[in-house]
């Protein structure tokens, strides 16, 4: 018990004891596992096209059927998980990382604040899909460009969040106390202010993660997504949409995996919010 309390703060313990959080984590973990183990779970290469076996309904060989190019959908959906989940993660890290740095800077320095926030407003003023389409057009469809395209419009939201936390925390007596001790501003920012952003950022991150997977699908729909030979859930859906009445399995499984993942990540996020927000957590019955 003592060791446990050393390792985990009370908040962490409470958070982990919450059912939605556990449920969300469990499903996400399952998805991640399926994706990581994809090469071992599947017997077909997800990119090998066998046009003569196109649009086969699910059977004992092709568990999820095949797509219009005769690729094994089971393998594609599982491998697609690798890319989609990784993409969500990377987008999350990039957006949260850059957003946090900028948000801290904006919250800490008045001059930078004015400039930075105008730029952020500018980015927010452009519908994110349009921005993403333009970016993928600019850089070509590759992992990097898709990540940038999806992460970029998310950055202002993170910046705003972090900045608002910084603004509210920087007047906190303990921050002033640290400054009063002669601790330099940047160190105070990292040591005393940043940790306050962790809880709201965690929630925001789950949201970004989920929406990144969705946006990737939409980009696929618009024809400017991830390179189509690479299986992603978005690509599978986008490619399958023309067959979905004759061959529903082309989108059913990918859609199902995507929905369940996004769902569980959202449940996780909601759970975290309920737990990390002390006011809501106090109301648990």
């Amino acid at each position: 018990m003592a060791a446990m309390s050393l390792a985990l703060s009370p908040t962490a313990r409470r958070v982990l004891a919450s059912r939605p959080v556990l449920l969300g984590l469990a499903i996400v973990a399952l998805m991640v596992l399926a994706a990581i183990l994809a090469p071992y779970l599947t017997s077909f290469d997800p990119t090998i096209m066998k046009p003569r076996f196109r649009l086969k309904a699910p059977d004992a060989t092709y568990w999820f059927g095949t797509d219009a190019l005769g690729r094994d959908l089971f393998s594609r959906v599982l491998h697609g998980g690798q890319v989609s989940l990784f993409l969500g993660l990377v987008v999350c890290v990039v957006a949260v990382g850059i957003g946090t740095v900028l948000g801290l800077l904006a919250g800490a320095t008045r001059l930078l604040d004015a400039v930075l926030m105008r730029i952020m407003d500018g980015i927010m003023a452009i519908p994110s899909i349009l921005l993403a389409v333009a970016m993928v057009s600019l850089f070509g469809a590759s992992f990097v460009s898709v990540v940038i395209a999806i992460a970029f419009p998310d950055i202002p939201r993170v910046v705003r969040l972090v900045r608002s936390v910084v603004l509210s925390v920087r007047e906190e007596p303990y921050v002033e106390a640290a400054l009063g001790l002669g601790v330099p501003r940047w160190l105070v920012l990292l040591r005393h202010v940043l940790p306050n952003c962790v809880a709201p950022l965690t929630v925001q991150a789950t949201y970004i993660f989920a929406s990144a997977i969705l946006v990737e699908a939409v980009l696929g729909f618009l024809g400017v997504g991830y390179p189509p030979d690479v299986p992603t859930w978005g690509n599978i859906l986008a490619e399958g949409r023309n067959y979905f009445q004759q061959a529903p399995w082309t989108i059913f499984f990918a859609g199902g995996f995507l929905a369940v993942t996004v769902l569980s990540v959202n449940i996780l996020g909601d759970g975290l919010r309920d737990q990390l927000d002390p006011k809501l957590a106090g109301r648990r019955s």
Binding site: P173, Y174, A177, G180, L181, V183, R191, S285
Partner: protein, 549 residues
């Protein structure tokens, strides 16, 4: 045990028998309240006193039927309002009774009112809810009457105002008007004046007493201030750890407390004695000359909303001396302190440190100055980073100033001991301490810097009396041993008197009186100082004056 019926023959308005409220598992103790018995007759004021967490508010909530659902519940006992069993009452019945037959005034006037509704609407709401048949004009009439009753200025305008447009005292009056709306048999007031400055507090108490006389309500008054008890209570109930340790007529309990706990509480009340040692002529360390600070007004678009928080204040702080700064809320006390510590840059005047203007300090010099002038903040909880262990908090400053880690650590250990905490405190987080302990940690943090000056901003206001006394004693003791000078900001004149060599009285940003402590308090020259002194609950300096005279 039955309670003596102070009001004689009339049947009690409220009668509580053997009340026990269970706490959830993992709480401070098994019961928030246990074995509580209480009767309040018509027109009677009963005070509940006791340290923080002793179960005062829980008792009140239990009566109102407003215990947080799922967390706290009445385990056993009976509560009767005018003979009606409240514990067995349905939620609907409780709703009918609330506001109509019993009403509650809450501690925090700032947050207890809906910020988006006019106060008139909020006062009227209780009437509309319980008297649905009443015409709108009649409701308005009644609201106006109530507003007049609680002496709010310009009632017609007032009922259209929003809470944020009123002062704390005015808001508390609105709360009272709300409680009185339907002339309930019982009014429960849960620390209704703690958040107010003393002049306002005195007015509110007077008003409450007056109204209670007129409306014949029974009042259950919760406080931890014995001055307040002295001023208004008929009877008093002393609680500790969820249990009643003593009750009786107020005068008797105050004059001859039976229980040692009561005695301890009473002893801890600052009596308003002025500091014993005479003021030695010390060399001036810090001189404040015509300090002026205007908030706002500088922003690009925010013209015209400037607040002149400090306006031409000149003070001197000698080495090793304690300067008490008093004055009502918003008078600019904190702002002076913040200018001193360099958190705010004055917009006028200057601050001299050993004869040199601090505005000119840069780099090393500034570092040295900052290190030498430390602040203890008003709110001990919020001035400690909840995510860092006490050790890290204590060594952060010294490390920053180049003290080797080992030395900083040993110094921290010494300080923790010096402020009366156990060494294991270093490994704990702020939330694992009581308020008083946290305040000690803040003091230790300031001391770790070996400062020449400590600015203590309301350093003990958040603590209850017994703890307050301990901390004050500690500060006094440390100052004697370490010899730092101190600016002690407070709105409690009794505390200021006990600790200061000199007193500065502020009002609306200006310095209205400034001098040696005995001069200011015993022979006040200004009207404002006299008002302040008169407003101290419990008779103020009666005893002190007697002692001095």
């Amino acid at each position: 045990m039955t309670t003596a019926q102070a009001a004689g023959t009339a049947s009690p308005v409220l009668s509580i028998r053997n009340l026990a409220v269970a706490l959830p598992k993992g709480g401070d103790r098994a019961h928030a309240v246990r074995g509580l018995n209480l009767d309040i007759g018509p027109q009677e004021i009963v005070c509940i006193v006791g340290e923080s967490g002793s179960g005062k508010s829980v008792t009140a909530s239990a009566v109102m039927g407003l215990l947080p659902p799922g967390t706290l519940r009445v385990e056993s006992g009976a509560i009767e309002l005018e003979g009606e069993d409240l514990i067995a009452a349905t939620p609907a019945r409780m709703r009918e009774l609330r506001g109509d037959r019993m009403a509650m005034i809450f501690q925090e006037p700032m947050t207890a009112l809906n910020p988006l509704m006019t106060v008139g609407a909020q006062i009227g709401e209780a009437i509309r809810v319980h008297r649905p048949g009443l015409a709108a004009s009649a409701v308005r009439e009644r609201v106006l009457e109530l507003v007049r009753d609680v002496r709010l200025p310009d009632p017609e305008r007032m009922i259209g105002a929003y809470p944020h447009q009123m002062s704390g005292g005015q808001r508390q009056r609105v709360m009272i008007a709300m409680a009185l709306a339907l002339e309930p048999a019982l009014i429960i007031a849960d620390e209704p004046t703690t958040a107010l400055d003393i002049t306002t507090q005195a007015q509110i108490l007077r008003l409450l007493r007056e109204l209670q006389d007129r409306h014949h309500s029974a009042v259950l008054f919760i406080t931890h201030d014995f001055g307040v008890v002295h001023d208004i209570a008929d009877r008093v109930l002393v609680m500790r750890q969820g249990e009643v340790v003593e009750q009786g007529a107020a005068a008797e309990v105050l004059a001859a407390p039976q229980h040692p706990y009561t005695r301890m509480l009473l002893d801890a009340v600052p009596q308003g004695e002025v500091k014993a040692e005479p003021l030695a002529a010390a060399a001036p360390l810090i001189e404040i000359e015509a300090l002026e600070l205007v908030y706002g007004g500088r922003s690009l678009f925010g013209g015209g909303r400037a607040v002149r928080a400090v306006d031409g204040v000149s003070l001197t702080l000698g080495e090793g001396e304690t300067l008490g700064v008093v004055g009502e809320s918003g008078s600019g006390k904190s702002t002076v302190g913040r200018c001193l510590t360099g958190f705010n840059t004055p917009t006028g005047g200057r601050i001299l440190y050993r004869g040199r203007d601090i505005a000119g300090f840069r780099g090393r010099e500034l570092q040295a100055y900052r290190r030498g002038v430390q602040m203890i903040f008003q709110d001990p909880y919020r001035s400690l980073n909840p995510r860092r262990r006490i050790r890290d908090t204590l060594i952060e400053g010294p490390l920053q100033h180049g003290t080797p880690r080992a030395e900083a650590l040993s110094r921290a250990a010494g300080l923790v001991e010096m402020v009366g905490l156990k060494p294991d405190a270093l490994d704990r987080y702020p939330h694992e301490f009581s308020g008083g302990q946290r305040q000690r940690i803040c003091i230790a943090r300031a001391l770790a810097m070996e400062p020449e000056v400590i600015v203590a901003d309301e350093a003990v206001s958040a603590l209850d009396v017994s703890v307050q006394a301990q901390v004050l004693e500690l500060i006094d003791d440390l100052q004697k041993r370490l010899g730092f000078a101190m600016v002690f900001i407070t709105h409690d004149l009794r505390i200021a008197a006990a600790i200061s060599d000199r007193i500065a009285v502020m009002q609306r940003g200006r310095l209205v009186e400034y001098g040696a402590v005995d001069e200011v308090f015993l022979r006040p020259r200004g009207d404002y100082t006299r008002d302040l002194l008169a407003a101290i609950p419990g008779g103020g300096f009666a005893r002190a004056e007697a002692a001095a005279g």
